[in-house]
């Protein structure tokens, strides 16, 4: 695994037209730490995640990796340092599982075919899907697809991983395997931001839990503090609804 970096968001604002989605988000993720972002639908969690790798450009504020602003970097180069896993997996359906992983290795990392295949197989093995290398994504279960998506992101050796409700689209019996994989990654010291509705997971795995509501991080603290002694009334109300 490549060296992890710390991640900071400073006063990030973003509007879609007139709709102000992010209203000054501050967030700090220490090197190798895992931050889980929780909060009601529409609070801006997914939007926040997309400002980190600049799939969305903030209107105001700053995004820093290891203390250095990335807003002037080439966005394509920046995204090569940041892995992202989506709610709907977003595997490329016209390619085999193996090819989904080797594509960016060959075209972006410029690895040779053999080396790319070796790296891809290693990562498939790591997520327990070595046997599915030649299958098309459509022939895999949701849980398997999401594990391939994680392998695809990890094969690029990212310094930060972003998870956007990675288990929300999965059947209940498949959630556990994917969560275990993310927890495993967290334990290995990857810097991660995990947007999730899985409160049990956030409590067990996160170093920090951040509660977002209406476009700001209202409260960010250790899981125990968030789940047992929440200060903010909106967080207490949210927790009473989901727990």
């Amino acid at each position: 695994m490549s060296r992890s970096v710390s991640l900071s968001l400073r006063d990030v604002h973003l509007a879609f037209g007139r709709h102000q989605v992010l209203r000054g988000v501050d967030l700090d993720v220490a090197r190798g730490a895992t931050t889980c972002v929780i909060g009601p639908s529409g609070s801006g969690k997914s939007t926040l995640l997309r400002t980190v790798n600049r799939l969305l450009e903030p209107d105001r504020g700053d995004v820093l990796l290891d203390g250095r602003s990335v807003l002037r970097d080439d966005p394509d180069a920046l995204r090569q340092r940041i892995g992202m896993v989506f709610q709907q997996f977003n595997l490329f359906p016209h390619m085999s599982v193996l090819r989904n992983i080797t594509l960016a290795l060959r075209r972006i990392r410029k690895l040779g075919e053999d080396e790319a295949v070796a790296v891809a197989r290693e990562h498939l093995d790591r997520v327990g899907l070595a046997a599915k290398a030649d299958a098309r994504p459509a022939h895999l279960s949701g849980g398997q697809q999401q594990r391939v998506a994680i392998a695809r992101a990890l094969a690029m050796q990212p310094q930060v991983m972003l998870f956007d409700e990675a288990t929300s689209a999965l059947d209940p019996e498949l959630v556990k395997g994917v969560l275990a994989l993310i927890a495993d990654l967290s334990a290995q010291g990857m810097t991660m931001v995990v947007v999730t509705h899985e409160m049990g997971f956030a409590r067990e795995v996160a170093d920090t839990v951040a509660f977002m509501d209406a476009g700001v991080v209202l409260e960010a603290d250790e899981p125990a503090a968030i789940f047992e002694s929440a200060r903010h009334p909106r967080l207490r109300r949210f927790l009473s609804q989901v727990l």
Binding site: N90, F92, H94, M156
Partner: protein, 260 residues
């Protein structure tokens, strides 16, 4: 005389057909194929440019693509072929000499590209936006993401419509006869028509029709077979290196607004 017999002899006179057959095979068929295949390649290449321009975020690419499509899709094919073939003939004379093929092919390509551009555009737009997002998140540029992820998926979805257009092109290639063809330049239809005019018997024209069917009917079946295979995946998978998954379609600089 028995009217049924007259009818039969008008269309199914084997002698007339046998007489026309050699020229159909050695002159008409190759010429029809030259016209149709060249125009198909040019029209499809231009169609991709139009499709990408049509979804560009810059109106300076979008509007010209729109106007082009409206014009060439709206004019009768015969009018376009005459306008270009005759109108540009003095210009073509200096470049190619009196051969009507280059301008005929150009006209056919322009017409085909207007339809093919719309087909490609709908295909590209049918691919979920999340696919583009996933490709960009991996670090691909907009152009790379389009070329390797979006366009290959889009094209698979519109394969049948695309082939419909190629079939129309094979048929429309007969219209170049408007431009005046030397004996060696005649394509299937013209040869059939000439025999019919000379003998007063329509059998040679019917033979030309059979040639067209022999070209177009298999094409639809081939594409249906390919379509089915793409939908359900290959029965056996070769080594990853052989996988022609990312059709490396040349995507010209018309890529337009560079989405971040």
């Amino acid at each position: 005389m028995d009217p049924l017999r007259t009818l039969w002899e008008t269309f199914f006179d084997w002698e007339s057909m046998r007489e026309a057959l050699p020229e159909m095979l050695t002159v008409g068929l190759p010429n029809t194929l030259i016209l149709a295949v060249t125009a198909a390649l040019l029209g499809s290449a231009l169609g991709i440019v139009l499709a990408v321009a049509g979804i560009s975020r810059t109106r300076w690419l979008r509007w010209p693509a729109r106007i082009y499509t409206d014009v060439f899709r709206g004019l009768p094919a015969a009018a376009t072929i005459l306008l270009i073939g005759v109108g540009l003939a003095p210009l073509g004379m200096q470049v190619w000499g009196p051969n009507p093929y280059p301008l005929g092919i150009l006209a056919l390509s322009l017409i085909a590209s207007a339809y093919i551009g719309e087909i490609f555009r709908s295909g590209i737009q049918s691919v979920e936006a999340t696919q583009l997002e996933a490709a960009r998140a991996l670090g691909f540029s907009w152009g790379e993401a389009m070329r390797m992820v979006i366009i290959p998926q889009g094209i698979r979805r519109i394969l049948p419509a695309w082939v419909n257009q190629l079939i129309a092109l094979i048929k429309d290639s007969s219209l170049v006869y408007f431009l005046g063809l030397l004996a060696s330049q005649r394509e299937l239809f013209r040869i059939g028509q000439d025999y019919a005019a000379n003998t007063g018997n329509q059998s040679a024209l019917l033979l030309a029709g059979l040639f067209y069917l022999a070209l177009t009917v298999p094409l639809t079946h081939v594409v249906n077979w390919i379509d089915g295979r793409l939908r359900h995946g290959r029965p056996a998978t070769g080594p990853a290196g052989d996988d022609p998954d990312d059709l490396d379609l040349a995507l010209p600089g018309a890529a337009g607004g560079n989405q971040r």
